[in-house]
């Protein structure tokens, strides 16, 4: 019987999926959790081992396969921690202050770029992200449509990307 071998580039697991797995783990556990990196490493190793053993049969996409392993490992980790602590520490509410402003230089660049935006883009970022109003509330406050709010948010991001990469 002919065996259909699923060819997976294991290097891609590291380069492409590690950032995704890291993001998912940090969002669930919080960046202040000291062992989040260990959890990510365990997941990547587990994925590679399963692929080598032939456990990935191509019934789902490789992304879904890795997502499933990631979700299970996160649940296991939380359960293990909950057994040790009576009330497990709650992951910090978003946004995690220890978090993604790791690259301080880049963060300063972005802050400077936001300051340089036109007022109509800055005020949308202020109301939508800083004050966490909904699109509808922002639209009402500024006298524009919700769709226009989304357009300005998206366009702000494009402008910021341009300003930062200059």
């Amino acid at each position: 019987m002919r065996k259909n071998k699923i060819e997976i580039n294991l290097e891609e697991i590291h380069t492409k999926y590690r950032p995704i797995v890291s993001f998912r783990v940090r969002k669930s556990l919080g960046s202040f959790t000291p062992d989040w990196e260990d959890v990510v490493n365990e997941i990547i190793i587990n994925v590679i081992e399963k692929i080598k053993k032939g456990e990935f049969r191509g019934e789902s996409s490789i992304g879904t396969f890795i997502f499933t392993i990631t979700s299970r490992r996160i649940i296991d980790h939380i359960r293990q921690k909950s057994k040790v602590l009576k009330h497990a520490p709650e992951p910090v509410a978003y946004p995690d202050p220890h978090l993604q402003v790791e690259n301080k230089e880049r963060a300063e660049l972005m802050a400077e770029a936001i300051r340089k935006l036109k007022p109509k883009y800055r005020e949308v970022l202020y109301l939508y992200y800083y004050k966490e109003l909904s699109r509808e509330e922002v639209a009402q406050k500024l006298g524009i449509t919700s769709r226009r709010v989304s357009e300005r948010v998206n366009y702000s991001q494009k402008l910021l990307k341009k300003l930062i990469t200059k």
């Binding site: 992304g63 997502f67 709650e90 992951p91 946004p95 978090l99 993604q100 963060a107 802050a111 202020y126």
Partner: protein
């Protein structure tokens, strides 16, 4: 998938506004959609910078908000002289103290408790917290716990989830809902009895209202 339709969910996902099913669906999606993941990572970074440096970045916006109020204020204050304003302010303050502090404390008011037919509430001194959901047994652990927001501003709510009388988890929020973290959901098992309650606090930290404790169970699967 450069123009993926799931991009609209990015902000709701990052701010934990998606319900459990949609959240899981979106998470599975970004494992398979590099375009969405990259956009989400960029958005995440932007939000982190806005949140951490917002006070300095948005100084102009703060000032603009305050300035809008001053313009209105300037119109009102032109009616009286400063001396007249001072006297009327003192008189108004004394009146308010009398109405809201002295008179209520002269007589002891017994809180009135009742159970309403459709919702579970406790009424104290004209405030009440009505719990919306969950108020019945569920097949799975519900993500979103919601209640009717009180009309007063700047209230902090504390949500308590109890298991057989012990506090399982609590959280403080200014919203009228919380989204249960995954690790708490995992602690909740089928067949066990749970209850939840919301207490409201003024900015000064005094309790101003509370709801009754609503019981619910996670149904055992057959």
């Amino acid at each position: 998938m450069k123009n993926c339709n799931s991009k609209v969910q990015i902000d709701d996902y990052l701010f934990n506004r998606l319900d459990e099913d949609k959240k899981e669906e979106f998470e599975k999606h970004y494992f398979n959609c590099p375009s969405c993941f990259n956009k989400m990572a960029e958005r995440n970074e932007l939000i982190a910078v806005v949140k951490s440096k917002g006070q300095t970045i948005f100084k102009d916006e703060y000032i603009a908000e305050a300035a809008k109020g001053e313009t209105w204020l300037e119109k009102i204050t032109s009616f009286l002289t400063p001396r007249q304003w001072a006297l009327s302010t003192v008189s108004a303050a004394l009146l308010l103290v009398a109405i809201f502090y002295v008179i209520p404390n002269l007589k002891t008011t017994t809180p009135q408790f009742y159970i309403n037919e459709d919702a579970f509430t406790v009424r104290t001194a004209n405030n009440k917290i009505t719990l919306i959901s969950p108020i019945i047994d569920r097949k799975t652990v519900q993500s979103k716990f919601e209640w009717v927001k009180l009309e007063r501003e700047n209230i902090e709510y504390i949500v308590y989830i109890y298991n057989n009388g012990d506090t399982l988890w609590s959280k403080t929020t200014k919203e009228n809902f919380i989204v249960l973290p995954e690790h708490v959901k995992l602690l909740m098992t089928a067949g066990e009895k749970y209850s939840w309650q919301v207490k409201a606090f003024s900015p000064e930290g005094t309790i101003i209202s509370l709801s009754g404790k609503v019981r619910f169970k996670i149904q055992k699967s057959e």
